[in-house]
Amino acid sequence: LVYVFFGQSRTAQSAGDWHAFRGGNANQESLKPPHESSAIMTFPLVVLAVFSIALSVIGTPVWPWFNSFLNGSVTTFDAGRLSEKGVLPVMLSSIVIVFLGYLVGWRLYGMRATENADVTDALEQRQPKMFQILRNGFYVDQLYRETVVRLVFVCSRLCDWFDRWVWGGAVWSMSYLVVAMSRVNRMLDTFVVNGGFDRTCKGLILGGSVLSRLQNGLSQNYLRAIGVAFVVLALVLLWGHHG
């Protein structure tokens, strides 16, 4: 925090941005070092800081406005809630911790201005290992990248694969099964049901044409048939008698 608002600029650009933001000439002012970060960073930080302080007031037990908003209840300002058990010690210890942080920051960076960005950091000079840990943000980013990010990407590929081949595969398998069943049904229809029907029809047509030759209305044909029938009948009777 001390660095952001009161530290010496480590880049000419950031100072230039600030002056350009305030309507000055970036090139002329670029060597003047009012801030560590550019205006585009510090201005939103100031806004956030103001609202953080404001929210911390309305978030205290004295006036828990936000809690009541979420719960749908109505609350009032009541300074007496500070005397409730455990409230004041927690608030005071938080404030003490914050101010201790300020004090450490001021002792490290505020008491003696850093000449330029190439100078070894004050903490790095005294506690190089701690400085490394702090510089790497307790290695949280690395840990996050190797665990959460990796897991999310592996899971996303797995989900995509699952979606395409398992869920999608099940749907496609089902649709192929339906198509295959419809083809089998068509074959059964064409070759078994329709085929049988066609063969029966052909048989009937053939039988009909044979019969139509016999029943053509000519009396000599009928007499011929009767004669043949008599001969066959006589032969059967004679054969039967001998047997």
Binding site: L70, V152, F153, S156, L158, D160, D163, V171
Partner: protein, 516 residues
């Protein structure tokens, strides 16, 4: 005094205009386009009039129209809206002019526009009908134009996508129809309001207990089977995982302007069915399988978000994002079914349902706007919509980047934009009812943030892809058109009460009416 038949006129306007455009055909392109715009504008005005005249204090159905249709089987022309219906009607009325404005179809434009209007009529009918027969006609009516819009104007794989869409939704419709036939056979009721009473009074179970052959299966089991059929119909339409595989390919292959309507309004039909029919009629059955339902909602939220992250196509990412967001609505609805008593958790159940309905509207608006941006990108790039096909566009189209950024952050659920409050209320309501489900669903929020930011990073940040060095930024006309959904995103983000005031009465009635 005779009341003006708002809803009939609202549904008839797009139907009549669609027929007129169909007759005129493609001979006079400007005329048919003007007619389609006029129709969508008139319906928007009518929807706004309904919205303004809606009685906020009443959670009852309003603007009802009731006429006998087929008295022998109890079929009536019965329409009306409550807090749920009015929100869906307004959403459909907003999205259709957006889709028409975004459309750049030149081939058989008359047919295209008339199908869009048929689809709109189908949506209005579905969201206002209060009789199953009448409702089912419109439910199916919306399916047919959507199928042809995908089939005739879709991408290279439109044939398989449209067939998949049609077959999937038809399977759902058949399951739905069979379920309703069973309900009708045993209760003789097809009116939604009456069905709600049937559900609450336990009349359905009594009727099932007295059916012929009741000794073979218990009435509870038969009720569960009927519930499953109707649930399947809505689960496919929403869609919930594992009934979702039609959606990514359909959204990716459909013309983007049609996808705006599919994701914006049509995807709400399933959720609407859950709220209008399933929750009041089958609350006991829903409660019996609530753990399974919550797992389905969770799978829908988390797996679709993870799948979105693995996609390389903008439309497919947004399609999976759509499934993910609808999963939150399902989570809110299914969590309501979990509570064990009528008196406990009333506020929580109310919050969950409020959130679900609000999220339906918000997702419709945001998702349609995002697809609109994709349509504009496609128009500028000659049809390209790959995630890695762009890069660094912020430098050449800064306004486009900024405005699409707002829509993306709305989809992400950034406080101050419309996407936040719906999701917040869902979590607010779900947590006391099913804390484990609410906790697990937050994984979806994390992954959603990753893929939304990935879109911003890959498309707009980084080094500029020189191929798009001359891409044009938003024109004045586009800025004016986009200002409507963007303004709505901010308005509903800052003042969600504008929408909640219409929803809340109906939600409280639903909560009171549900039988557990």
């Amino acid at each position: 005094m005779k009341v003006f038949p708002f809803i009939t006129v609202l549904t008839a306007v797009p139907l009549v205009m669609a027929l007129a455009i169909l007759i005129i055909g493609d001979r006079r392109r400007e005329v048919v386009r003007g007619m389609a715009f006029t129709s969508s504008f008139v319906t928007l005005v009518l929807a706004l009039m309904l919205w303004c005249q809606f009685d906020l204090a009443s959670g009852q159905l309003q603007f009802q129209e009731l006429h006998a249709w087929i008295p022998s089987i109890g079929v009536e022309y019965h329409v009306g809206v409550d807090g749920l219906g009015i929100v869906m009607v307004l959403l459909s009325a907003i999205l259709v002019p957006m889709s028409i404005a975004a459309s750049s179809v030149h081939e058989r434009e008359g047919l295209y526009l008339s199908l869009i209007l048929f689809l709109q009529a189908g949506l209005f009918g579905t969201f206002t009908a209060l009789n199953f027969f009448h409702w089912f006609v419109f439910w199916e009516l919306s399916l047919i134009p959507a199928f042809f819009l995908i089939r005739l104007w879709g991408g290279p794989r439109r044939a398989s996508a449209s067939t998949q869409f049609f077959v999937y939704t038809m399977v759902g419709s058949i399951a739905l129809l069979l379920g309703f036939l069973a309900v009708f056979v045993y209760t003789g009721v097809v009116d939604f309001a009456r069905l709600s009473d049937v559900g609450k009074s336990g009349e359905l179970i009594s009727a099932l207990a007295n059916r012929p052959g009741a000794h073979r299966f218990s009435p509870e089991h038969v009720a569960l089977a009927i519930f499953s059929g109707i649930f399947l119909g809505f689960a496919i339409k929403t869609p919930l995982i594992p009934f979702h595989t039609w959606l990514p390919s359909t959204y990716a292959e459909a013309p983007t302007e049609v996808t705006m309507l599919l994701t914006g309004a049509m995807s709400k039909m399933g959720l609407y069915g859950f709220l209008r029919i399933l929750v009041p009629l089958f609350s006991a059955e829903m409660r019996a399988v609530s753990t399974l339902l919550l797992w389905m909602a969770l799978a829908t939220i988390v797996l679709s978000a993870l799948s979105a992250l693995a996609q390389k196509d903008l439309k497919r990412i947004l399609a999976y994002s759509s499934i993910n967001h609808l999963g939150y609505c399902a989570l809110g609805i299914f969590a309501v079914a979990r509570s064990s008593s009528n008196d406990a958790f009333v506020t929580d159940r109310g919050a969950a349902l409020d959130g679900a309905i609000l999220q339906m509207f918000n997702h419709g608006l945001t998702a349609a706007t995002l697809f609109w941006f994709v349509a504009m990108l496609q128009k500028r790039s000659g049809g390209v919509h790959g995630l890695d096909s762009f890069g660094g566009l912020r430098r050449v189209i800064p306004v486009f980047c900024g405005v699409m950024g707002i829509a993306l952050f709305s989809s992400l659920g950034l406080p101050g934009l419309n996407g936040f409050i719906g999701e917040f209320l869902i979590f607010r309501g779900t947590f006391p009812l099913a804390a484990w489900a609410a906790a697990l669903a937050t994984i979806g929020l994390l992954v959603t943030a990753i893929f939304i930011l990935t879109i911003l990073q890959r498309v707009f940040m980084g080094p500029l892809n020189q191929r798009w060095g001359a891409m044009s930024d938003l024109s004045l006309r586009e800025r004016i058109a986009l200002s409507v959904p963007i303004a709505l995103m901010f308005t509903l983000g800052i003042d969600p009460q504008l929408m909640l005031s219409h929803i809340n009465g109906t939600v409280m009635k639903m909560v009171q009416q549900v039988r557990y």
